[in-house]
Symmetry: D2
Subunit: 285 residues, 4 copies
Amino acid sequence: MSRRSYVLSLNCPDRVGIVAAVSQFVASHGGWITESSHHSDVESGRFFMRDQILADSLPFGGDGFREKFEPLARSFSMTWRLSDTSVPKRVALLVSREDHCLSDLLHRWRNREMEFDVPCVISNHETLRSFVEFHGIPFHHVPVSPEGREEAFRKIDALIAEGRGDCVVLARYMQVLPGWLTRKYEGRMLNIHHSFLPSFSGARPYHAAYERGVKLIGATCHYVTEELDGGPIIDQDVLRVDHGDTVADMMRLGRDVEKLVLARGVRYHLQDRVIIHGNKTVVFS
Amino acid sequence: MSRRSYVLSLNCPDRVGIVAAVSQFVASHGGWITESSHHSDVESGRFFMRDQILADSLPFGGDGFREKFEPLARSFSMTWRLSDTSVPKRVALLVSREDHCLSDLLHRWRNREMEFDVPCVISNHETLRSFVEFHGIPFHHVPVSPEGREEAFRKIDALIAEGRGDCVVLARYMQVLPGWLTRKYEGRMLNIHHSFLPSFSGARPYHAAYERGVKLIGATCHYVTEELDGGPIIDQDVLRVDHGDTVADMMRLGRDVEKLVLARGVRYHLQDRVIIHGNKTVVFS
Amino acid sequence: MSRRSYVLSLNCPDRVGIVAAVSQFVASHGGWITESSHHSDVESGRFFMRDQILADSLPFGGDGFREKFEPLARSFSMTWRLSDTSVPKRVALLVSREDHCLSDLLHRWRNREMEFDVPCVISNHETLRSFVEFHGIPFHHVPVSPEGREEAFRKIDALIAEGRGDCVVLARYMQVLPGWLTRKYEGRMLNIHHSFLPSFSGARPYHAAYERGVKLIGATCHYVTEELDGGPIIDQDVLRVDHGDTVADMMRLGRDVEKLVLARGVRYHLQDRVIIHGNKTVVFS
Amino acid sequence: MSRRSYVLSLNCPDRVGIVAAVSQFVASHGGWITESSHHSDVESGRFFMRDQILADSLPFGGDGFREKFEPLARSFSMTWRLSDTSVPKRVALLVSREDHCLSDLLHRWRNREMEFDVPCVISNHETLRSFVEFHGIPFHHVPVSPEGREEAFRKIDALIAEGRGDCVVLARYMQVLPGWLTRKYEGRMLNIHHSFLPSFSGARPYHAAYERGVKLIGATCHYVTEELDGGPIIDQDVLRVDHGDTVADMMRLGRDVEKLVLARGVRYHLQDRVIIHGNKTVVFS
């Protein structure tokens, strides 16, 4: 994504002529489409589309685009959005004590493999302060005690708002969030769960996987909803284990899958490649 | 496994000296071990072992081995068995209408990739008769109606016994077996389930996977127990799907995983590479 | 692909407005696009596109489509073709003695997982006659001796022509074809090579892989060109091996990868999902 | 590997009684073997073995073990070594500008996923100084100019010696090392090459992979020998790419494979799980 682009993503009832109308609109303004993806969902009769357009091929900016596109969008009853790749998303990171996902994401941030801003890292432990601060990123320690949960999450919410975070990534944050907070960030809060959902949702998934004697373990990146580990899945992956692997081995091996799956999920989200559709996702990877 | 071998597999309480005693026993009779695998289960304190020994390196046959090994086995409280690779297992195959697993297994049988005898194929449909009979294998059509279930399974049981089947493979057999039959073939009856268990057990797993929006689908080969899709898992695998895949696509793609996972599971079983341990397996693959 | 469709695939110099023009053309005739894929090759400045359109949504047949589309195609300097999913391709199969790929393809043919006709199977050995004839498919034994090579391939060419084969699949055919034959079927003759190309091209790839001590072995499906194992790659896959695997183990394990990779490659070809571009392929899978 | 253990690894001409003798030796001293792996190489007639023994189950330390084991080892003409898991290996890291492998390894070091000491990081660029020094590890900048190569490598050799490094990891170090240095660290110097060897050895492997149009890209961890990218392979892995992936995409995606493959290779080396055998490896993973 080296050249500044607009990403147009939309969905609407499927019918003849949507692609023709959208691509005709873009072409009529000289827009150069570098990537275009479509999906017709047969069951729901809904159509999904994502176009990536070189910004400097267009005679107007984002607001001009939005204004000119609106009538067309309305005529097809589209739900749509336009984003500008030169405006990086602001991602607040929540972590607990385990730092493999955090370390992985900050590496990709450091070497600009993925373009995003990190207004702050918030943790219920002090453990990772120095590593975060080495990166020049503010670190906030917000302990979560049984009796102080509500207050803690009010504070977390305020810290995210203060940092103007437009999305939240739970990079192995081991606390269940209150419903009001997950609703507030609906479709903008990603979690990594350390199992191949829907198997082993909830706590201690590696222990559960060990008990059941599965031969593959996995990880799932999903949008957070009120239902614990029940939100729309963005990406998943697995790796092979065998009878010789203890729970500790599974935890160790699983970390590598968790890192990769979260990084892919975050990438797709940052590049507006994900469209939520009911409790599922369309991912134009 | 071209050269005739004995496979010794055992498990017993873990302690110092088991491998020394067993390998000393084999070596003292000149036995040439071509493959040896061990596993110490820390949680249960149990030790598992499998040795493959060239038959012609030993001065006695299987019965002689068993007789001489018995005192040692008793002194370590071993559960053990010895099998002879020159005596192929007799595998009764149960199928319904879908033939991908059957076709795959019969190909491996035809070209002797895996050594086993097939006394008969039993199906609740006539569909696959000519393909089975082309291979010179008896085909039995045993319809299963709601009111005739018990009688049907008595007949199936009799057919397996008549063919002297020592194990049973459900190669996409779409009927739930009665408890008495699964108990009779405990540890000797393998099933292929078309999901990554424990997710989506029971009927129509691809539909359930589609509904949940998972990004990988899988298959599981397991021993059949009374609990539907709940027995010890032998092998599993998955493949990637995306939002563009319909249930029909998943069924099509899934067939390739089912074939591979069942073939591996059957191979492990035929070569006595699986030791059941509670509701889990040790697989010396 | 249950409903009859037209597949339009094209490539042309990249510029603004191609998708707009094509989709406008289709929409203006009421055409319902069920699948659409695009690719802009930045290096060569070439654009690739594949549309799948429901046949009964159009007011004309294939010839009508071709006639009406021709002016537009010319104005964009397109290389293009239109195929009809109700006209199955005729695939001549060449095999030697090993039947795993043949058996796999014929299974997919038998259960109509892939739609194609098999005018004949040609082999330099008699081995597989009965299995092929069981399927009601003509089997031709054409031995290839050092001195009779040219004559043998003339005969093979005649047999393919007689069966009106429009493409050829070398399903583990262990003879090198003469240049005139590979040129005649350029872009229509697929081979499965039992290594992860470009490593281990030529004869005995598993032996070479074993010698080098690689930790993964693979298979490659590619279009046949005059350069042995050098044509455009359609698909590849690998699987893990270790120090314990002999050449015989690699051959056995490799067969499963070969089957899958060839089946995928053939599927992509049959559904006109592959566009050759120099010595590479664009695969709209 | 939480409990202190000895790792005995050996190889010798294969014959009856090796396992019996070794396990009898260990058992006779009360040694508790927690992991045992064997391999008979049929082609060379050589036997390989690795035992992991709890240190506190033995009545003597490493030197006592070595002394007592020597006669037995001699009688079987063994090549063998004993290592102590409480003595971490000292790993000198060489890097250039790209830090993904370094960052990954230092994360595993930081959270003690793998036990090793890092006496120093040496680089031909200044780029990674602050990140390395954050970890409290000495960073040495040793530029390598065409005319100063020999001197630079003398200095690097001295720095490693000064840090008492007993092995060297080239974590994306983009300089070809002189023969005398690779010979000095034979079997103790690991490299990560960014291709699936033997394909695309040498410079710019992703460009070569892109040119050839392969559908999978890979990475290889191997011991360094005088032959560039020609040493014994420890581990390899691949990931899928398609026509839409540019060289830059391949580089980005490839980094994740490089990290994983190098980390696994280093882990196997650190835990004495690798035995070099000619130009191949036996890896008891």
